[in-house]
């Protein structure tokens, strides 16, 4: 056990975590050069492309150190985004130490800090790593100062590397062996194994990735998941090289995989504890928390015919993503779809992209919503995340909405605009701290709902790309929420209804109306587009009708050609969604429902 090191890499997006992992794997010879493809841990195309890790992965590396001893290094990958913080937490809990990667030119960013705090809270030993020292813009002195001031770590402990070039990798491996502690645990005690990740294998079913704290695990032990209560018989255990390698047993302190003939991931909760059914542990590994969706959106196929494909695609994704929730939903305007729950905006983004890319679906997503807690007049309580089910305002006593604590890091010169942005978004208790010279940290308590609509893009543009943003959920607070409906010629377009703060209702409704007016083609009659709260109209635009579309021409007896043209025209209209007598092209829904804010400002 003394020769085991369990560690993870904490880094901000783009700070080079995956490249660093690649170098470590390569240096330890865990993979033949010819098998090597960059960023092995990020196995999904999407991850490779966007440079973010969505699903944690892990790998066992054999390393012969300068002291002549061979160590088993378990690199446990962590998802790179706050939406997956429950997974991050499980991953961190499986480790004794963490490498904190900081970009030599970008310096410390908000997310780095958030994950560092989490790692510290869990008692992990931290080794700072300054990466990208080969860049011309690298400012190692400044970064060392930030490490000292912002993170309160010893900057002289930091290992300087260039993952891209392989510089400093040997020093880093030595630091892992000597600065990180070995795991502790009792191989004889009742089994306690933390389920920190799970993957789906088409042939073997669920692959459970576990960290053993106590006990020993081998086939065919009957295991019990302590939170769900499910029992399974172990078929195989082993360690993850780049492929699974059966080892016969896993014991306390080790990291590895378990196959137990589990057909799908949907019943599994990351953070659950495996124990022996015969000889259960007294207590599970602490800190279990159910991952709850916080952002909701309805997903509809562009082509109504694709509903079946969407169903299948979601089922497939769900196999690999225990945090995705979905249930049937339908809209008069968009047909059948699913109401989906996500861990956050990035999670939503990732699911959308995977559906579109891996399953070749064209989708329309309704405006993302948070989940409101609504107290009715009779003091009963309901949770509402779908505008369709929002109760009649007169029956509502009060409404509560989720708040987040936002951590924003920005160069000092943007402090004013960032504070203003927080104020605009109903931020309360907004404070700021000086970090290193010229860098500020802004803390604000914001309604999550305000962050869902173009907050991140606005922050990025206001700070010219320098601002970084991270958040954690705080609590529920009283809200002044209203349901805004969009009406086209007096008919409600259900897919465009949304729940917003009363003060944002008018500008939001106006924005939707204007976007619709730009994308609905002119028709033969005037189209009124209105935003309304209940019966009260709060925004309005109109689309003026065509003035002329007829060809005043003679055409003799050739009526057939003329009718064929008309039939073609009608065919085109079939692809549009009818609301009342108005045809709304799918593109209009897409344009209206996009969350970013571009040409609207002009």
């Amino acid at each position: 056990m003394d020769n085991i090191r369990n560690f993870c890499i904490i880094a901000h997006i783009d700070h080079g975590k995956s490249t660093l992992a690649d170098r470590l794997i390569q240096r330890c010879g865990a993979v033949e050069a010819r098998d090597f493809r960059d960023q092995i841990l990020d196995s999904m195309d999407l991850e490779r492309e966007r440079g973010i890790t969505i699903k944690a992965n892990s790998v066992t590396l054999p390393y012969t150190a300068k002291d002549g001893q061979t160590y088993e290094l378990n690199l446990i990958d962590t998802p790179g985004h706050v939406d997956f913080s429950h997974e991050v937490r499980r991953s961190l809990m499986s480790c004794e130490g963490a490498l904190l990667v900081i970009d030599a030119s970008q310096g410390v960013e908000a997310q780095t800090v958030a994950n560092l705090y989490l790692a510290m809270e869990l008692g992990l030993e931290i080794v700072p790593v300054i990466n990208k020292i080969d860049l011309p813009s690298a400012d190692i002195d400044r970064v060392m100062e930030e490490i000292d001031r912002d993170l309160a770590l010893d900057p002289f402990e930091a290992v300087q590397v260039s993952a891209k070039l392989g510089t400093g990798i040997d020093d880093l491996l030595e630091a892992i062996v000597h600065k990180l502690p070995p795991p502790t645990g009792d191989p004889e005690a009742p089994l306690r194994a933390l389920l920190f990740d799970a993957q789906y294998d088409a042939y073997r079913g669920a692959v459970l990735l576990v960290r053993l704290f106590d006990g020993t695990l081998r086939a065919p032990t009957r295991i019990r998941l302590m939170h769900s209560g499910e029992e399974h018989k172990v078929e195989e255990v082993g360690c993850q090289r780049l492929k699974r390698v059966p080892t016969g047993e896993l014991s306390a302190g080790e990291v590895g995989y378990v196959l137990a003939g589990i057909k799908s991931l949907s019943g599994l909760a990351i953070g659950d504890t495996l124990t022996e059914a015969e000889r259960p542990a007294a207590e599970p590994v602490p800190g279990y928390r159910e991952a709850k969706p916080v952002v909701f959106s309805s997903i509809y196929p562009m082509e109504t015919n694709d509903y079946g494909d969407l169903t299948k695609a979601l089922e497939k994704l769900k196999l690999n993503d225990t945090s995705l929730t979905y249930e049937k939903d339908s809209s008069a305007a968009l047909g059948f779809g699913f109401r989906c729950g996500f861990l956050g905006l990035l999670h939503l983004d990732v699911i959308q992209e995977r559906l579109e890319r891996e399953h070749s679906l064209s989708l329309i997503l309704s405006a993302p919503s948070v989940r409101y807690r609504v107290v009715l007049n009779d003091s009963s309580e309901i949770w509402v995340d779908n505008p369709t089910f929002y109760p009649d305002p007169t029956s509502i006593k009060e409404v509560f909405e989720p708040y987040i604590k936002a951590t924003i890091m920005t160069p000092e010169r943007y402090l004013g605009t960032v504070m203003e942005l927080c104020r605009e978004r109903r931020g309360v208790d907004t404070r700021f701290n000086y970090l290193a010279a010229g860098r500020m940290e802004v803390l604000s308590e914001l309604p999550l709902a305000e962050v869902l609509f173009d907050f991140y893009d606005r922050l990025k543009s206001l700070t010219q790309g320098y601002g970084s943003f991270d958040y954690e959920l705080l609590d529920y607070r009283q809200a002044d929420a209203v349901k805004v409906d969009i009406l086209v010629n007096g008919e409600k377009v259900d897919a465009l209804s949304q729940l917003v703060h009363r003060e944002s209702a008018r500008p939001r409704a106006l924005k939707y109306c204007e976007r619709l007016a730009r994308t609905i083609p002119r028709q033969q009659f005037k189209i009124a587009i209105q935003g309304a709260i209940g019966g009260q109209i709060i925004a309005r635009t109109t689309i003026n009708p065509f003035r002329k579309d007829v060809t005043a021409k003679c055409y003799g007896g050739d009526i057939t050609r003329k009718r064929k043209l008309l039939e073609k025209q009608k065919e085109g209209k079939k692809k549009m969604k009818m609301v009342g007598a108005v045809e709304i092209p799918q593109a209009a829904f897409v344009a209206v429902l996009r969350t970013e804010d571009d040409e609207d400002e002009g």
């Binding site: 028709q523 033969q524 003035r547 007829v550 005043a552 021409k553 007896g557 057939t560 209209k573 007598a581």
Partner: protein
Amino acid sequence: MTVPSRQPGLYLHVPFCSAICPYCDFAVMRAGESIRRRFVDCLIAEVPLAAGAWPDPRPFDTVYFGGGTPSLLPPEDLARVLDACRTHLALASPAPWVFLEANPEDVTADACAAWRRLGVRTLSLGVQSFEGEALRFLARRHTAAQARVAVEVAHAAGFDTVSVDLIFGLPDQTSEAWLRDLQAAVALAPGHLSCYQLTIHARTQLGVRAARGLIAELPDRDQAELFDLTHRFLADAGWPAYEVSNFARGPDHESRHNRKYWDHTPYLGLGPSAHSFAVGGMAAHPGRADDSGAVAAGHRWWNEPRLRPWEHRVAAGERPVAGEERLGPLALATETLMLGLRTTAGVDLDGFAARYGLDLVAANDALVTSLVREGRLCVRSGPEGRRLVPTVLGLAVADGLAAAFDLPLP
């Protein structure tokens, strides 16, 4: 409205012009004397071929010489064609109403007299414009003065209706210029006016120039303004519209022939590219097309569009049919709506319901409501029953209106 006619019409296509107009996409060509003579022989030969397959026993009460430029054919040739028609087809007695399209430069007192003797009652003149600049743009071979003279000569010859064709919507055309055209036309007091909107077709001289960016079609807004101006001015002047592009100084001057295209009255077309329409299954039930208006099925076919293939097939003793289409209730209903909304008489809702089993207005309730509110349509009830009638605003977008309707036939 004229007295409804359900008798079939006969169309004869003469595909020749003295020059090809830069905007024209019809089946036309320039040809010398010998080709013209051979064409007339073939047209005469086609008459018995077509007659053998024509299912409708009722006499044709209109005969329309169109083109091209039928006035290029010597009156003797026209007479030979008419004789052949009288021999093989049932023509109304004492005589069908004969229409002839003519270019102003072909209109002389002698020619008019000859045409009158042939039974021509409507002379349709391809004036296109009274403005020098527009005539040059359209590459017409006559001057404004010639056009005026032609109308006067035709009037003097005693045709029942003289019709003047005009084209509007030329690139950069101002409403003032178009108004001068309309005033010039009205001053000549023709019985009938056709105002066609210039459409730039790809495979025409203008189409090529447009593709090179040398000219552009007038924008939608300006077209709409000219369209509106046309309808308002002519209605005030005493030539109310009875169709999107057709205006008449009183119902007697409305085209008895063209309206057959619009209301599913049978028509037989002879000559290259000519279209024909018959009611019902063609050979199966000859004579089923009765006056009850019970249209259940239609049959449309069209001739070889090019002169040579048409001639070859006629010479070989075949009907020169290039294609055909059977029309079921949905196609017929679509056309009834599409064509009806282009006429000021509109769509006969009761007739539509009786024929197709669909209450058009009830099936498109929301649409009709908003179109009525917008002043595009009105639903009129009168002694002739309920009609769905387009306003001038509605006529301007008639094609779009028709496409917007749902036709869920039972």
